[in-house]
């Protein structure tokens, strides 16, 4: 059977791609951020997952507000990045995992999660930046990725309790897949930040740290927040915490934190990197 062997939270902001493209990782500004990653890369290289299920949000590359899916997922064998309007260099395609994707899609819709199912889906920085952080130099082609996209741009958005339930349902879908595959789940984005309005620049370090603690030991507490609570506590774009909450929903039993690196600010955001393991089903 397929097994979720662990999970990772990471930032996905475009500025990271620029920093990596320009070799700025060891400059004073970026060093405290990038120095968090080697232990996570080592773990991935040791565990060699077959599949990454990656929660992210599309910031206006594939989806416009003419049709805005609440939950979307890819079922393709390959995904492409494209120009997002500010000239991020074109990068190699991302490999998909069509069979497991369809299995998950079937299972989710049967359970009442009415996913938008995508055979073509351009993936933006929300998905590509985390992959490049884990396998620098865009060396991620060997790992198969299943993109799960959550609306974080336009209200109404799915609430934290709902994204947590989505994560749980994806966990069940993976556990019911017959083929032996090792799966790692990425929850990307966040943490506290606000890009727009006179309140731009808002960051709440204490809230971020509390969220990281609760992601490990008390995720139910996070599901008590509404999205508007997240805006109040963490700024307008802190609703991206939904991707981390969805990730946590896929994990079972006691969760162990193997690594953490919180750093703020990078660009306008608080960045929370965590590596988690859980009690795998027998």
């Amino acid at each position: 059977m397929a097994n979720i062997i662990g999970a990772i939270t990471t930032s996905h902001i475009p500025a990271i791609a620029n920093a990596m493209a320009n070799g700025l990782e060891q400059t004073p500004y970026w060093k405290p951020f990038f120095d968090g990653y080697p232990p996570v890369r080592d773990w991935l290289n040791e565990k060699k997952p077959d599949v990454i299920i990656l929660f992210y949000n599309d910031h206006g590359l594939e989806f416009f507000i003419d049709k805005k899916p609440t939950f979307a997922m890819g079922v393709a064998d390959e995904y492409y990045n494209s120009d997002e309007g500010w000239g991020i260099p074109t990068i190699p395609p991302v490999t998909g995992e069509s069979d497991l994707s369809w299995h998950i899609a079937n299972s989710l819709v049967d359970e009442g999660f009415d996913m938008t199912i995508c055979q073509e889906m351009k993936v933006d920085h929300g998905l590509t930046v985390p992959l490049n952080l884990m396998w620098p130099g865009h060396q991620y082609g060997h790992v198969k990725v299943i993109p799960v996209c959550i609306n974080c741009e336009q209200y109404p958005m799915p609430q934290p309790w709902r994204t947590f339930e989505l994560g749980k349902a994806i966990g069940r879908a993976v556990a019911s897949y017959e083929k032996d595959l090792n799966v790692v789940v990425f929850g990307t984005g966040g943490m506290s930040h606000q890009l727009d309005g006179e309140r731009a620049g808002f960051i709440n370090r204490a809230f971020d740290l509390d969220c990281l603690d609760k992601l490990v030991s008390d995720p139910e507490a996070l599901t008590k927040y509404t999205n508007i609570d997240l805006v109040e506590q963490g700024g307008a774009q802190a609703v991206e915490l939904n991707m981390l909450i969805a990730m946590r929903g896929t994990l079972l039993g006691k969760v162990t934190e193997l690594h953490r690196n919180y750093h703020a600010p990078i660009s306008n955001t608080g960045s929370g990197l965590m590596l988690l393991e859980h009690e795998m089903p027998k």
């Binding site: 741009e153 731009a200 306008n268």
Partner: protein, 120 residues
């Protein structure tokens, strides 16, 4: 739970709900088009004509002309699409932060550093 998602207001925060999405549709559609270099070139060649093509309102056109990010938000712009417009102007998120808060980019960056350290 509130029936209207944006019943709760926060100062200096413009939540992008259904009303705003309707009001800002043409503006956001224009900004979304900037994913293509050809569209960026067309805008740069004749901004007024390009705004007209997407049927922007007078208020939206004026905010585009004067690079008034707060004005664009008030007129229904979503920050994710506006970022493509400001990217076209070669402004990054800290530049935009400064424009919205009345700070220089360096002052805005310094505020981010203080907020990041938890001093606020």
């Amino acid at each position: 739970m509130a029936s209207n998602y944006t019943d709760r207001q926060f100062q200096g925060t413009y939540l992008f709900d259904g009303q705003m999405a309707k009001k800002g549709y043409g503006l956001n559609k224009m900004c979304y088009s900037f994913n293509d270099q050809a569209a960026r070139d067309e805008f740069n060649a004749d901004p007024e004509a390009y705004c007209e093509k997407f049927k922007l309102t007078q208020a939206q056109k004026e905010a585009i002309r004067s690079r008034d990010v707060i004005g664009l938000l008030r007129e229904g712009g979503s920050i994710y699409y506006l970022a493509k417009f400001t990217g076209l102007l070669k402004l990054n998120m800290q530049d935009i932060g400064g424009l919205q808060t009345g700070m220089t980019t360096d002052e805005f960056k310094a505020m981010l550093e203080r907020n990041g350290r938890g001093e606020v």
